[in-house]
């Protein structure tokens, strides 16, 4: 099933989705686009390259409250936070970001490690993937091709969307997506030409090239293992690194968090908050010992975790090549270049 709507009528579609549940879509902010819960359908804005923050926060918010409690009272009196979710629509997600959910599922929604918050949100959500605009040039930071992802890759989306001039074509990919699309009666059905355009667009997406490293993950993983103790290499590539948390926070596949308590006036909330392995205190132990005090150790950890440990443990690189870490790095450290350089070492 393929449907379509005029881009300038996207707010009508948004309004329908808002009636059905919670809509999360890109909105324009001062500094760029970001996903946000839509309260005003006019705010949905698809005129973006990619968002600053990845859409992971839809399932794994920066701050997630677990329980509310009173200081001095037994834990049995604490109140867990219940989500009470309505159906959620995550709208306008780029293919590389859609892919990231599958990687994140490994950590939050796989046998033995189920995070109820992630899972509940994930199950409640229909993902509207959105192909990159092939008529525009690719951002020099992106490298999702290297990770086997293409600019118009519908894999992982429930509904996939393609821009055709002033129209938006929507195609149901999964059962859930098809069902929803069929319920969206206010938007018109696509014509044959639209279907053709859509299919060709997907195909053309394969020729839309990001930076590309023609290497299999095993080669990368092995190489990283080999040079783990090459301190000179790691010191060199990290010499510019500021050790801030930008790369982690914008990354769609970084999932580390910290559990903290926030109390005031005898009432407390226990919550998890994103943490970043680049922070000095990330590995600070209660004893005062810190196994990763140096910048190079932390950067090495980050890259190894994504390209080596994750591959060994779960069989897949924990990166989708969205380019955010590179794009937003204050000193333009480029994970792609580091891998490239590692291979050459």
């Amino acid at each position: 099933m393929l449907k379509k709507t005029a881009i300038n009528k996207i707010s009508e579609l948004a309004a329908v989705l808002m009636e059905k549940g919670t809509l999360i879509a890109p909105v324009k902010e001062v500094s760029g686009h970001n996903f946000a819960q839509i309260l005003d359908p006019q705010k949905v804005d698809l005129d973006f390259y990619n968002t600053i923050m990845s859409p992971k926060s839809a399932f794994f918010p920066h701050k997630e409250d677990f329980i509310n409690y009173k200081v001095g009272k037994p834990i049995s009196e604490a109140e867990p936070v219940v989500l009470n979710l309505k159906p959620m629509f995550l709208f306008g997600v780029r293919p590389c970001d859609v892919k990231s959910f599958q990687i994140m599922d490994i950590h939050f929604n796989a046998a033995g490690i189920i995070d109820p918050y992630w899972r509940q949100r994930r199950e409640a959500t229909t993902i509207f993937g959105y192909a990159f605009d092939l008529s525009k040039s690719v951002d020099s930071a992106d490298f999702y091709n290297t990770l086997g992802i293409y600019a118009a890759d519908p894999d992982g989306s429930d509904i996939f969307m393609v821009k055709k001039d002033n129209e938006l074509l929507l195609k149901g990919i999964t059962l859930q997506g098809k069902k929803l699309l069929s319920e969206l009666t206010t938007i018109e059905n696509g014509k044959a030409a639209d279907k053709k355009y859509f299919e060709e667009y997907i195909k053309k997406g394969r020729d839309y090239k990001t930076r590309f490293m023609c290497l299999d993950q095993e080669t990368i993983t092995k190489k990283l293992e080999d040079i783990f103790h090459n301190t000179d290499f790691w010191t060199r590539v990290s010499s510019a690194c500021l050790s801030c948390g930008v790369c982690t926070f914008v990354c769609p596949t970084c999932y580390c968090f910290d559990i903290c308590d926030d109390t005031q006036f005898g009432r407390g909330t226990r919550r998890r908050v994103w943490d970043a392995c680049m922070f000095t205190d990330f590995t600070l132990e209660a004893s005062g010992h810190n196994p990763r005090t140096q910048v190079y150790q932390r950067l090495r950890q980050k890259i190894n975790h994504k390209y080596s440990y994750h591959v060994r443990k779960y069989g897949v690189i924990s990166c989708v090549g969205c380019g955010r870490c590179t794009r937003y790095c204050p000193v333009s450290i480029d994970i792609y270049s580091i891998i490239e350089e590692a291979i050459k070492t």
Partner: protein
């Protein structure tokens, strides 16, 4: 989890009148970690203290909160209760609901709710308190007395007589102070010199007293028990070790200076002793008027000195003195009345201030004890004007306390020495003191005229050139008085020494609104100061007469003794420390500490604090950007927690 006991004091009705104390205790019992909360009539009384001690044991308390008067009042009292019950004394928190609640409101609702907020803050803070250990240090058994007037002399002698070593530092070249300028003392009229000079001599003779005249304190380091004081010995240009006090130099000296001693009424030599009974009996050279220093030649004194004691090359020198306690007894100045132009002091020769008149009466004074005006004539009519500059909101609000009595004394002496009519212009006569009222009555009977009214103006007498007119409103008759007189005596305000601010800074003393040194507590600690180990005596604390001054001097000596009789003493444990793991090496602490307590360890790249030098102000903790400095007992967590508690309700 802590086990907190809260004890709410009624302080009779002092607190209970405007704070519902039982409700407060009830409120306390609902707060987390509070295991017992009680209220009681007088917590500081023996039964009150026993109750606390019992509850500490019975309820296994590990924190105690006393909700009562100011911590400045009874913190020490209750700390002792904790210590005696085996609980670290720093686990005590005092909530000030008297001075800062019940005494400043009449509204019991307001009072109670503020008391609750303060108590809640204390509970938040108490949970985070940590036991602290006091440091024990050696005590230096010597004492410094600053100021060689009657207060300083008395204190020095008292201490020296107990066998303690005393350094007596005096700014002038002789001890004696203002009292040595007086002729007679009220109300007994005994001769001032007769009672003072023997004491001055005793100072000189006492082996335990190191007399440091013509000296000033320039730096005070250290702390109670271990002060390290720098004293500047100003150049005298006379070697006092060689001088045998023959005074030949003074006879020959052509230089002329103005006698400070005689209140500038006469001249003295450039090489001089201030007055014949000065102690030490050794001259100094006044560089400002010495012919040699001014013109480069003369040196007559050097030529006539058989002892070769004259030393024109002498320089100021600095002496380090280490003592355990200090008594500051620096006395007073008379207010400069020249700015009060309405009284004509400095303009009309017939207007005198009180100290000048003291010198006129004195047989060793400029007139040999004869009361004559500057033109040599004996005055026929004399007016004594009280409260010049004091009891005056435009100048000094305080009462200078001794002026009424010395004005009466002056009247008596004028009557005795002249045939003049004597008038007193006064606001009211304050004659509170032993024998004072009797003296007042005696002077009334001596036909001294009393006009109740503050003099408004002293003017030139246009009818009789050279004479003066005193104008005032007689508040008894309601009539305006214009009195022609020959002589006017002003009783100016007694004010702090002009350099008392510097001295306060040196010794870390607070000053009151007028500039007199502040006592630690107006009633219970009138001689101690906020600076541990530094005591005050005499008029530098506030105007008072000689008996009170002497009593204070004795008291201060006893207070100083309580410190130096012990070999060791405990210091406050509320010092700062550095958590090296958090120190980023910015060295802000090193830059700001007034005591040099933090230093930077370049090997470890962290600051370290020498706790022996730390006074616990917490400045370093506040300038530490990474919160690496822990100001014990006032840690960031403790302050933040208290703030949270205060703001909850």
């Amino acid at each position: 989890m802590s086990r907190i006991g809260v004890f709410v004091c009624h302080c009779g009705l002092n607190i209970a009148k405007t704070v519902r104390v039982s409700e407060l205790a009830q409120f306390a019992s609902t707060l987390p970690d509070v295991v017992v909360a009680k209220d009681y009539k007088f917590m500081c009384s023996t039964p009150g203290q026993e109750m606390i001690a019992n509850d500490i044991k019975e309820h296994r308390l590990d924190r105690v909160i006393i909700t009562a008067c100011s911590p400045l009042m009874h913190e020490q009292t209750f700390r002792k209760v904790l210590a005696a019950s085996g609980l670290n004394q720093y686990l005590l928190t005092i909530v000030n609901i008297r001075e800062q609640v019940s005494w400043v409101t009449h509204d019991i609702e307001e009072g109670t709710s503020k008391a609750k907020a303060l108590l809640n803050g204390a509970v938040y803070r108490a949970r985070l308190l940590a036991p602290l250990t006091s440091r024990v240090i050696d005590v230096n058994p010597d004492v410094m007395v600053v100021g060689g007037g009657i207060a300083g002399i008395q204190a020095a002698l008292e201490l020296a007589n107990t066998g303690k070593k005393v350094y007596l530092v005096e700014k002038n070249s002789t001890i004696g102070g203002h009292m040595a300028q007086f002729d007679k003392t009220f109300p007994t009229l005994d001769c001032s010199a007769c009672i003072l000079t023997p004491k001055m001599d005793s100072v000189l003779q006492n082996k335990n007293i190191t007399l440091m005249t013509y000296c000033e304190v320039t730096e005070v380091k250290g702390f109670v028990g271990n002060f390290d004081i720098t004293v500047q010995q100003k150049a005298r240009y006379v070697d006092h070790n060689k001088c045998n006090a023959c005074m030949t130099c003074m006879e020959k000296c052509p230089g002329k200076g103005i006698s400070e001693w005689d209140e500038s009424l006469v001249k003295r030599k450039a090489i001089y002793i201030p007055f014949p009974q000065a102690v030490p009996q050794k001259p100094i050279i006044d560089k400002e008027v010495c012919t040699y220093f001014l013109k480069g030649k003369c040196r007559l004194c050097e030529k006539v000195c058989e002892q070769k004691a004259i030393d024109f090359e002498q320089q100021d020198s600095f002496v380090q003195v280490k003592v355990g306690a200090v008594i500051v007894a620096t006395g007073y100045d008379l207010m400069d009345t020249r700015p009060l132009v309405q009284y004509g002091y400095g303009k009309y020769p017939g207007v005198y201030n009180a100290l000048e008149v003291e010198r006129l009466f004195n047989s060793a004074g400029p007139t040999g004890g004869k009361v004559t005006l500057r033109d040599g004539k004996e005055p026929q009519t004399i007016a004594i004007l009280h409260c010049i500059g004091s009891r005056d909101k435009n100048h000094y609000e305080h009462c200078s306390r001794v002026c009424c009595m010395y004005s009466l004394k002056f009247a008596h002496l004028f009557k005795e020495k002249t045939s003049a009519d004597v008038y007193q212009f006064y606001i009211d006569i304050r004659a509170a003191g032993k024998g004072y009222e009797e003296f007042y009555n005696r002077v009334i009977e001596e036909d001294v005229k009393f006009i109740r009214g503050k003099a408004a103006r002293v003017a030139q007498n246009t009818d009789e050139p050279g004479r003066l007119i005193v104008e005032a409103e007689d508040t008894i008759t309601g009539k305006f008085v214009k009195l022609p007189v020959d002589m006017v005596v002003l009783s100016p305000a007694i004010v702090p020494r002009s350099d008392s601010k510097d001295l306060a800074r040196l010794f870390n003393l607070s000053t009151d609104k007028q500039g007199f040194f502040m006592e630690r507590h107006p009633k219970l600690a009138p001689l101690s100061t906020m600076s541990e180990g530094i005591f005050i005596a005499g008029v530098c604390q506030s105007p008072k007469d000689i008996p009170d001054t002497v009593a204070q001097a004795n008291g201060a000596a006893a207070e100083a003794l309580t410190i130096i009789v012990k070999d060791k003493m405990e210091l406050e444990a509320t010092t700062a420390m550095v958590n090296p793991a958090s120190c980023s090496g910015c060295q802000n602490c090193v830059r700001v500490c007034p005591y040099g307590a933090p230093s930077f360890n370049y090997d470890k790249w962290v600051s370290e604090i020498n706790e022996a030098l730390c006074k616990g102000c917490g400045l370093c903790a506040a300038v530490c950007p990474s919160s690496a400095i822990i100001a014990r007992h006032f840690t960031n967590e403790q302050v933040l927690a208290e703030m949270e508690g205060l703001m909850e309700f």
